[in-house]
Assembly symmetry: C3
Homo-oligomer: 138 residues x 3
């Protein structure tokens, strides 16, 4: 795992086998990021879970995959929830047949590499309500 | 609807039921954004229209949907066209079966939430020709 | 082809028929970008090649297309490899039937237009190992 900061931008690289969300949390802690935005992320993922939020089912419907996929886009933000940095992440992915899938990212392992960028927000505070999930900007 | 500016970055959150493009225009007007870039956007959409530009058909072929979809990526820019801020937007979306679709976004309603970021450009001017659609950078 | 810099952000527009990677290299050379990030890119592509990296096949499996597609998201980074700016690029694309595909972008021609943004990194150095492909951040 390697990462470096320039102004408010942190560029990171996670190696094969790393847990994506745990690795992001470590970057957040090392750079004291309480609020931020994921600006970029490419590479590959495996052993991942993506969800679709269904009102009818009153919650996330989650799909689990083991096989590697290309990470086409990696978007989201970092807010504080229960005094811990929380990552709200969405991904677009391509399977080996190049068809694209995607959703809310619950969990993933890096396959080969993940190269990305976080923008740290230092003047505003993003907070997520632990009960409702609502994001507040203050 | 809430939004806040830090340096040239505006973080916004639109609530369920809001018109996406009208809400973006309101943010642009409140922060006097004449030129800018959409850096991020996640959440869900419903009642949306996405288009494919076809030369053979000499225009956009538009597909309308009502059902909710996850917003995987939200990209685009803000330019002035006929003295109004104009949003050129492309989206990648996931349906309930997690398959991805996408195109040029013509219209959409926020489902649950839309959380995003705009970068304001203050030293350059993006202008879109109302007849040809061509973007000029000056 | 037109492009302009504001702080560390370069906004560009490439016209129909341009080679995407050659055009990005030209922007990188004109603005002396040795390290950077692609923050945005929308428009259309044609005559493109997208790949999936397969460990079993010990390399990229590449799919070639001629037909135009909408460019939904354009992500990646710029590093120095053998003293030349190297672009690691991933794309999500939509076909005329709005289904999405994607992968590692090897080659593409602009269809109609490509409008995008690069962030130049000036305090850190991204380097890619020409043998292993590994990105170093220093």
């Amino acid at each position: 795992m390697s990462f470096r900061k320039e102004r408010n931008f942190i560029v990171f690289r996670f190696e094969d086998g790393k847990d994506v969300i745990e690795s992001l949390k470590r970057v957040a802690k090392e750079h004291q990021i309480q609020s931020g935005v994921i600006l970029s992320g490419i590479g590959m993922l495996r052993d991942f879970e993506i969800s679709f939020y269904s009102r009818e089912k009153m919650g996330y419907v989650t799909n689990k995959f083991h096989e590697p996929v290309e990470l086409l886009s990696f978007s989201g933000n970092i807010s504080m929830r229960n005094n811990e940095p929380f990552f709200h992440l969405h991904v677009a992915l391509a399977k080996e047949d190049i068809s694209a899938i995607g959703g809310h990212l619950k969990k993933a392992t890096v396959h080969n590499t993940l190269e990305g960028v976080i923008m740290r927000l230092s003047e505003m505070k993003l907070t997520r309500d632990p009960e409702t999930g609502t994001l507040s900007i203050s």
